[in-house]
């Protein structure tokens, strides 16, 4: 759905997929493997304004909490409610049903500053 070839990445493993004026945000397959056993996602509130790089969501696994940073600036316009009942969707489908939230982009150009798949893979040594 949000195939990784069509996503842009932060070094901190978040991806952004441009869908019209919104950016859909999730975490990479590598990140979900590292976090493993996701048991709770503390999603941001719809309507919140975030700046690029802002900590706006927490993913909890059994062993640790991981902060999620906004890859672009804008307003949170949707969150993935399905994660409230099934947080492990992020493990199973990090680039599909396990998306986290959508940001209505304040400046669509910010996406261009993110890493493409090859550059992201280089940062994780793959």
């Amino acid at each position: 759905m949000y195939n990784e070839e069509n996503c842009r990445f932060l070094k901190t493993h978040e991806w952004a997929f441009v869908e019209g004026e919104n950016a859909v945000v999730g975490i990479s397959n590598h990140a979900q493997e590292e976090i493993s056993d996701i048991v709770f996602v503390d999603l941001p509130k719809v309507g919140r304004t975030v700046k690029v790089g802002e900590n706006c969501c927490v993913i909890e696994s059994v062993k640790s909490a991981s902060e999620i940073y906004a890859p672009v600036s804008g307003e949170i316009v949707a969150v993935n409610e399905a994660l409230n009942g099934d947080p492990a969707l992020v493990n199973r489908e990090p680039h599909a049903g396990g998306w986290l939230f959508k940001i209505k982009m304040a400046d669509p150009n910010e996406v261009n500053a993110l890493l493409d798949l090859a550059a992201y893979k280089a940062t994780i040594g793959k």
Binding site: S36, F40, D42, E60, S61, V62, K63
Partner: protein, 358 residues
């Protein structure tokens, strides 16, 4: 990393089995293999095994071995051969240095199993106290490998390797011979399930690991171990207990036997008990989703009331935790736990969370 991590004799076997290795009190140990949740499930429903070779073994031998132990322990140490006793090692102030199990091998010989992070301190403490007794204390921690085999089918599996172990009573020890060497098996654990812990010399422990793998036992890491022990209501020394807390405050008053003639910390405990305790270790269960962790603040009636010392996500009970809060906050009380700036409602509950089948 500024120091070389210590490796157990099972380190390579754990890595080979896919263990994600982490620094645990200076030891390189697996935090998990494939999944903490799957490992937890294996132990609650079948059998799992843990490398606990980092734990310490002190041998106490001599005419006054029992006397030394009774003096160092706040609990009454059982002196029937093969019996084990859970106890706390206390300071003169009655606060907790470590929790341990003493196994009686004979009237003049005991094996004491202690926490990895406390081996040096415990050994020094025993040696210091031993000067007044006709006894010799030896630290054998470096020579023993140890596997905790835990779960409802654990003892049945152990019986295939150690015939007869199925008849070993809970909290007892038996000397064994396996792979041509002498070792010990104890019917103990840190998971709330039935199980055994097997000690063999370092050179033979991997053979046991491999034999258990062949019998279908799932390798489990520290992550699952922490969830299992918290569900079972066991203390994690260094987190839930330390040298600022007495056993009474740590919800372990049953371990203290003030009827005993004398032991280190007795006078202090009597005085402190008479004065009462401002805070006690209480257990909490979240009422809405979230994962409480060590260090989270607890609020009672809107006021900060204490801090969590352990917390996790339990596959059985969701968000669970323990922490020190005002003694008067009773079971059933509503509190809030602050997680990432968000106050999550929780209830004070009885321990253990998990009522075991043992």
């Amino acid at each position: 990393m500024t120091h070389e991590l210590k490796k157990t004799a099972l380190c390579a076997a754990c890595e080979k089995a896919g263990g994600k290795m982490v620094d645990f009190h200076g030891w390189l140990l697996p935090v998990q293999f494939d999944s903490i949740i799957a490992e937890h499930k294996a132990v609650r429903e079948a059998a799992g095994m843990f490398d606990v070779s980092h734990m310490g073994q002190l041998r106490i031998v001599g005419k006054e071995a029992l006397h030394l132990l009774q003096y160092v322990s706040c609990n009454i140490i059982k002196s029937e051969p093969a019996a084990g006793t859970y106890f706390h090692i206390l300071t003169e102030q009655g606060t907790i240095i470590d929790d341990a199990i003493a196994f009686c091998l004979s009237t003049e010989e005991f094996l004491v199993v202690v926490n990895a992070a406390c081996v040096d301190e415990d050994f020094a403490w025993f040696e210091k106290q031993a000067q007044a007794f006709d006894v010799k204390v030896t630290n054998e921690s470096a020579q023993w490998g140890m596997i905790a085999l835990q779960g409802p089918s654990a003892v049945g599996i152990a019986d295939k390797i150690i015939p007869g172990v199925i008849d070993l009573p809970r909290f007892h020890i038996q000397e064994i011979e396996l792979f041509g060497v002498k070792g010990y098996v104890t019917r103990t654990g840190y998971t709330g399930e039935d199980g055994v812990e097997i000690m063999l010399p370092n050179a033979q422990i991997e053979a046991l690991w491999n034999a258990l793998l062949k019998l279908g036992v799932k390798p489990c890491g520290l992550g699952a171990r922490d969830v299992l022990r918290l569900e079972a209501g066991y203390l994690l020394n260094g987190a839930d207990a330390n040298q600022t807390k007495t056993p009474y405050e740590a919800n372990c008053g049953w371990v203290v036997k003030l009827t005993k003639e004398n032991f280190i910390g007795k006078a202090a405990l009597e005085a402190k008990k008479a004065a009462g305790f401002k805070t006690k270790l209480k257990a909490f269960k979240l009422k809405t989703p979230g994962v409480p962790r060590e260090g989270c603040k607890v609020f009672y009636q809107g006021v900060e009331a204490g801090t969590l010392t352990s917390g996790t996500f339990s596959p059985l009970f969701k968000g669970i935790a323990v922490g020190y809060v005002a003694s008067e906050i009773a079971v059933g009380a509503e509190v809030e736990i602050e997680i990432h700036g968000r106050k999550v409602p929780a209830e004070v509950v009885k321990t253990p969370f998990y009522k075991n089948r043992v």
